[in-house]
């Protein structure tokens, strides 16, 4: 129960959080993901939080950390499936998760990740994320 499974699919790592999060579990996930990105040279990380009903400041910070850490390791992170009530609560709490790419569901998240990789492969200029699907 102290670990959340990480699946490897091609260049991507997939995580689906299906349990109630607590701090140690979130910290383990951060650690495991960053280690695995390095080990399998992943280019993208997709985290599905559609089954998560509570994201508090700690969990939000971990999501932000994972995005920043994977960025440094040359991988993009997309958080998908956030419930509307969680989004409202996070912003009111004061944690708008700026810097974390989001998509409405796993499918859209995969498209976003693939597009990001293609953009980087096609032209070497760092793109300034015009296609953040946060609308």
């Amino acid at each position: 129960m102290d670990r959340i499974p990480i699946l490897k699919m091609g260049n991507f790592l997939l995580v689906t959080i299906q349990v109630d999060m607590y701090d140690r579990l979130a910290l383990n996930l951060e650690n495991d993901l960053v280690t695995m990105i390095r080990r399998v040279e992943a280019k993208g990380v997709l985290i599905d939080i559609s089954a998560v009903s509570i994201v508090d400041s700690f969990m939000g910070r971990i999501l932000g950390n994972i995005a920043s850490m994977s960025k440094i390791l040359d991988a993009e992170t997309v958080v998908v499936g956030m419930q509307p009530a969680v989004a409202i609560t996070l912003v009111e709490l004061g944690l708008p998760l700026t810097g974390v790419h989001t998509a409405l569901d796993v499918e859209k998240g995969m498209i976003l990740l693939k597009n990001k990789l293609n953009l980087i492969e096609e032209d070497d200029d760092e793109d300034k994320d015009p296609d953040d699907s946060t609308e």
Partner: protein, 137 residues
Amino acid sequence: MIALNREIIEIAKELDVVFFRQRLKEHAVKIGMSVLNQTKLITASSELVRNMLKYAGGGQICIEVINEKMQIGIKVTFEDKGPGIPDIHKAMQDGFSTGKSLGLGLPGAKRLVNEFDIKSEIGKGTIVTIVRWKNGL
């Protein structure tokens, strides 16, 4: 104010937090609280229970279903015997933290509930009380 239902939960370790959040959710669902209000109440509680564990090593939480002026709501009282907060005014400011966190816990929790009260005495402990009304905005 009439308390309709009351439950006391002891917090001593991290997994107690998961149990507490589940119980709180059950109480909120039982009175028919909307998903958004449930989420706000549980998130605020999650912040407060973390503070309790981190700074006081645990404490006691009382969940009450209350009825006041035709309104039904949930009141949660967090009581610890920790070191107390030296400057509550400062602790209530966004971004202030004596730990390594983001400093959103107390002010963030306050924004998510309808009523928020904090009392702290150095060397004695801290009591935080929050209320979220079933139909409150």
